[in-house]
Amino acid sequence: DAGITQSPRYKITETGRQVTLMCHQTWSHSYMFWYRQDLGHGLRLIYYSAAADITDKGEVPDGYVVSRSKTENFPLTLESATRSQTSVYFCASSEHSAYNSPLHFGNGTRLTVT
């Protein structure tokens, strides 16, 4: 199916474990993004990527690692999960930059860190 897909949809992990959230898009969009949504904070940018092998930090990058070896994939890794990383994570892509080019979001991954 065309579009942007995130996996898993739900994940429960323990404090200190490494966990990777996957994101795949079929549009060949240049830009990809990771946001987290928390009550009282709205959507906050974690990392974004302008192209394969090009990534940059957003507003809340600490504790997260990203990579983009292929245009269509943009995995997000929590190296050592903490309870404060319990959140809903959204991946997004855009044909051009986030400036004047709408983002297309996946349906999110709900992560719970116990």
Binding site: F33, G42, L43, D56, E59, A98
Partner: protein, 113 residues
Amino acid sequence: DQQVKQNSPSLSVQEGRISILNCDYTNSMFDYFLWYKKYPAEGPTFLISISSIKDKNEDGRFTVFLNKSAKHLSLHIVPSQPGDSAVYFCAANRWGSQGNLIFGKGTKLSVKP
């Protein structure tokens, strides 16, 4: 410090009436603004945008107004329909900031039949 503010967490409107969602921003460098709509258990979807060279943009029942001097934008939905019930996010960006789209906290709109 919050650069994009949506001060009303929720709004309730009767079907057929106008819904007005407000958004304020503090960064005078912002020059591109968007609204996204989000249903539960789904990702946000793009609704409408406006560039700072305009003060109004329309798309069907949705109109966005931009007041640059007040650093304020609003989304008007006329007429409101029950299917419009969702969380609406305001977002802003500036030229030269390719990746950093800043979102507000969202306003939950409930349209009652």
